[in-house]
């Protein structure tokens, strides 16, 4: 089985999406699955990279999209890739029926804020003749960073959910409901997450020695 993991964060290896994708890849490889990982933003910058991404989708039995929530849906470059994949699949006589799964994380505390993005991925699968293999969605993605193990409790729920997901996907199954539920659980109380976040923005502003206040309005409203 060939699995392609497409990461949709512009931050590449320094992103929460990359951390999640790497853990999933690790779990899949432990289950004797061949895995390739491709960053979408970097790939779409050139024609050759775009062709490579499309060929990689064509050659996969399972495609997993891993991305941050941007404005309630997928980041623009990942949307572009879906458009290109759809176009290519209409031009090919037998495009195959790979499976598609999605892993979404958002910076808001509530995992349900990812629902529209998951809906778009599922509809993409249905409309392009791919088979939907389920999703994982989590809130508080801002706390993941580059190492899931630094999360409260060592990120156990997230790591367990990814392990269960890898085991099921590797044997042709869908993402288990149990994994989806575990993954969606809050990492800390909402008040704590938002308090840390609010403090963090101010600290970063100070660290960056910005001359503007956080509330600066560069554009006039007349």
């Amino acid at each position: 089985m060939n699995v392609l993991i497409l990461t949709g964060s512009p931050k590449g290896r320094k992103s929460a999406s990359f951390s999640l994708a790497s853990k999933l890849a690790e779990g899949l490889r432990e289950n004797d699955v061949s895995v390739s990982e491709e960053p979408v933003h970097a790939g779409l910058r050139t024609e050759e990279g775009t062709r490579r991404l499309l060929d990689a989708v064509d050659g996969s039995d399972l495609v997993v999209l891993v991305f941050p929530l941007y404005v309630d849906s997928l980041p623009a470059p990942l949307t572009r890739l879906l458009e290109l994949v759809a176009e290519r699949r209409t031009r090919v006589s037998s495009p195959g029926t790979p499976r598609l799964a999605a892993i979404v994380q958002c910076g808001f505390p509530e995992s349900r804020q990812c629902d529209t993005a998951v809906g778009i991925c599922r509809l993409f699968a249905e409309r392009t003749g791919m088979r939907w293999a389920g999703s994982l969605a989590m809130g508080m993605g801002g706390s993941i960073g580059e190492d899931i193990r630094r999360l409260p409790g060592g990120g156990k729920n997230i790591l367990d959910a990814l392990k269960m997901t890898a085991e099921s996907l590797a044997t042709g199954g869908a993402i288990p409901v149990e994994a989806t539920t575990l993954f969606a659980g809050p990492l800390m109380p909402i008040w704590l997450y938002t308090s840390i976040g609010n403090l963090g923005w101010r600290m970063q502003l100070r660290k960056n020695k910005s001359r503007r206040p956080l509330t600066y309005r560069p554009y006039s409203q007349g």
């Binding site: 309630d72 529209t116 809906g119 923005w201 910005s210 509330t215 309005r217 409203q221």
Partner: protein, 190 residues
């Protein structure tokens, strides 16, 4: 009154330009100025996810490109219309590349809107937002998803936002009539 129309049509898309014409024409009868941005003709880089617009140059993206003109126009508008081909129930990549760059319009600090966490607003007022999608033929599932997406985007700017989907729209006049009805429903009056 000023309206801003964001044209998210893709290359080879025959429906959305017709919807843009219809909406622009309908808005022209209700506001003093309509400004139109055909997004696929603008050089707009994808959001880099760096949060520089919150923590380095608050209110302004660190990337200097066509997105700045759109944001300036947005802040000075009373109405903004997103016009897009439905892309699996979502926006086209052309519209999305701009919407991803809307983050500097918000203040990064968290607040609660309709029982869930969102960001504070940076500006005193935001244009009334409406969403207009196009489809070659009816697709109830995609239409429901689009309505939900547009409504959720409204929460980000603490607004109730309405949307409509035009299916198989072929001529600007019928697109204008549909847009007029939609603007009436959305409460966009002269």
């Amino acid at each position: 009154m000023k309206a801003l129309v964001l044209d998210g049509s893709r290359e080879g898309d025959s429906l959305t330009p017709v919807a843009v014409l219809g909406m622009t024409s309908a808005l022209a009868g209700r506001v003093d100025t309509v400004e139109l941005f055909k997004l696929r003709e603008l050089a707009i880089a994808p959001c880099a996810g760096c949060f520089g617009c919150w923590t380095r140059t608050p209110g302004e993206c660190v990337i200097e490109d066509g997105a700045r003109d759109v944001l300036r126009s947005y802040v000075g508008s009373d109405i903004v219309a997103y016009v897009t081909p439905l892309t699996f129930g979502g926006y086209s990549s052309q519209l999305k590349k701009m919407l991803d760059r809307f983050i500097p319009l918000l203040d990064p600090r968290f607040t609660v809107v309709d029982g869930e966490v969102h960001h504070l607003l940076r500006y005193r007022r935001y244009p009334k937002t409406i969403g207009l999608g196009t489809l070659p033929s009816p697709d109830p599932e995609a239409e429901r998803l689009f309505a939900r997406l547009v409504a959720r985007n409204g929460l980000n700017i603490h607004q109730t936002v309405e949307s409509i989907v035009l299916t198989g729209v072929a001529d600007p006049e019928s697109a204008r009539r549909s847009s007029e009805k939609f603007l009436d429903r959305a409460g966009v009056t002269a």
